[in-house]
């Protein structure tokens, strides 16, 4: 009768629970990647799964990104439902050839004969002082590629719910988990289930300006909305959730209501996902705009190591607030 009680959990545990559920529900599902087994995952996501499901289904791989991502594509072609974990988005570049030239293209090249029901998960983003080879937000690059579906869970519900829906998708889905979210804790209903992977979500309603964010920047956007509320500005926060294909309807409907938009994106500004969103707003809601669309992105610099420079390079709450205030005037 009443819905199941909410249990306190973390983003990390929510993903693990999603993996566990998928492994239980469908014996075609298996997890493959570097140190996902004995080590329990570089970020501890798959801790305990090896013990529960055994080494056949929780497969440690050598450090051979191109090989094991490509093998995931092959296994998907062969009837399995692989979940491939890549430690970080920077390392995914070693497998970019397979992702771009195989996963994203096979269906089209084969005239619709071969689809690739593959899920690739990887960590993205900065904020942990791990410098210029472990910190970037390259999901915008992947969102450039037709044939892929790109997800960015920013909440516990999405961390828990997106994987299964992604596995049900007949085509390759990339899930970007922001490294700073793994420890995010909060309540999650015990019966939390699959999450839709087609739409953006309004995480907070508002009337004066739309803050558009995703993944690691959502929390910052919400914090910014708090600050703006104190200043009497009612900000609506849109969580993109699915970076490709973008849910234009939700984004545009919100901007048409508020007439102003700030896009928050941890990627670099030039050629960013924020640029794409901004362009769509210009194209489709130009005559509803009462101020230029603003973007809050990362500084155009490889991520520096020291805390103060990393902070300065990343979108911060104060930057979002400033941009929003400028737009509202």
């Amino acid at each position: 009768m009443t819905s199941a009680a909410a249990e306190k959990t973390t983003y990390r545990e929510a993903i693990r629970e999603a993996l566990r559920e998928a492994l239980r529900r469908d014996d075609r599902v298996f997890l493959m990647g570097e140190d996902v087994g004995r080590y329990g995952g570089c970020f501890g996501v798959s801790l305990g799964l090896l013990e529960e499901f055994g080494p056949e289904r929780i497969r440690d791989t050598p450090l051979s990104e191109s090989a094991f991502v490509g093998a995931g594509i092959g296994a998907a072609l062969g009837g399995m439902r692989p979940v491939v974990e890549i430690m970080t988005v920077n390392f995914s570049l070693l497998a970019l050839d397979q992702i771009m030239n195989n996963a994203a293209t096979l269906l089209h090249m084969s005239g619709g004969q071969f689809n690739v029901p593959l899920v690739i998960r990887m960590t993205t983003g900065a904020g942990r002082q791990v410098a210029a080879q472990h910190s970037h937000s390259l999901e915008g690059w992947y969102a450039h590629i037709p044939g892929l579906r790109i997800l960015a869970p920013a909440t516990l519900e999405d961390a828990r719910g997106m994987l299964w829906t992604a596995l049900e998708d007949p085509d390759p889905v990339l899930i970007f988990e922001h490294g700073s979210l793994y420890n995010m804790a909060g309540p999650l209903p015990a019966d939390a289930g699959p999450a839709d992977i087609r739409t953006a979500a309004i995480r907070r309603a508002g009337t004066d300006i739309t803050l558009i964010a995703y993944g690691g920047t959502l929390g910052k956007a919400v914090d910014a909305a708090d600050e703006l509320a104190n200043a009497g500005i009612s900000a609506e926060v849109v969580d993109l959730r699915t970076l490709r294909p973008l849910d234009d309807a939700t984004i545009l409907a919100s901007v048409r209501r508020t007439h102003r938009a700030v896009i928050v994106d941890e990627g670099w500004r030039s050629g960013s996902l924020a640029a794409e969103v901004s362009a769509r707003i210009m194209e489709q809601a130009f005559y509803d705009l009462d101020a230029p669309v603003q973007r809050v992105c990362s500084a155009e610099v490889p991520m520096p190591y020291p805390r103060h420079l990393e902070d300065a390079a990343l979108p911060q709450v104060a930057d979002i607030v400033t941009a929003a205030r400028q737009a509202v005037g």
Partner: protein, 343 residues
Amino acid sequence: MSPRRAPGPKASPQEAPAQERPPAARHHAELLRQMVLIRRFEEQCVELYSAGEIHGFVHLYIGEEAVAVGVNQALAPDDSIVSTYREHGHALVRGIALDSLMAEMYGKSTGCSGGRGGSMHLFDASTRFYGGNAIVGGGLPLAVGLALADRMRGDTRVTACYFGDGAVAEGEFHECLNLAALWQLPVLFCCENNLYAMGTALARAQVQTDLAVRAASYGMPSWPVDGMDVLAVEQAARHAAEAVRGGGGPHFLELRTYRFRAHSMYDPDRYRDKAEIEQWKQRDPIDLLTAHMRDAGELADGDLTALDTEVSAQLTNAIAAARADPLEPVEGLTRFVYSPEPS
């Protein structure tokens, strides 16, 4: 460029009595000093990391010191070095100023990489130290290219390229060994085989765990070496480096070693037995060398204590300096994205 400290005095025994010792004893004392310096430096890193003074990923070399110290003996000041994210030891023995290394750990603008790199990305042009590369296998192509440039420009340098056993699984490893051998480039491949790619044991990632054999299949001379014995490492490295320098094409050393601590600063260590770690600690490279020196009568009772005192004082000074050093102003955030306009 960022301000740099002048390199400290080149590694050399400085105590007066050493002058009276035979050359072999002086040499061993220097090897010992370098290993102890690495060990104490990293122990300090653990402390500073735990205290929240240094951050990010910090990969410790403790247990593997004999490799860096031994290989470095075979390298000339003009040789090039390409390293990994576990490179504190390589950087220290290369003679990069201690203060600038410590400042880099602190992310200070006086650090060897201007504070931008941190532990994983130590760079120093003056010693041709081409950096800590934190993408497994990512350094090998650079080493091949540096060697290619030397060859094309007629320089007789050796490029020493460090990487771990994990890199052997990457495509780049195979592509680079083949290319270096095909073009007979002057690369000394130094594979630090510590048996684990992060948490995955070599035997669980590779069919052929004898890595020297794999390298040999690319047509280059290759040896397995006891990486816990600094003298054995030195001997093998000298032999290989001379051959490379003499135009013998790339050589490969599989340096069998072991890290005593976690992959990064801390990790669950679920992937190996405590007993295994203890067993390897019985062959601690510092202990092996001191035992050898004692047996040879090269080590007096107070020597180790004196060495510790000396190294500790250096570190204490370096830490104090690093703490006091300035941070890069935020206005400088986007420096070094492009080279400055020629003036």
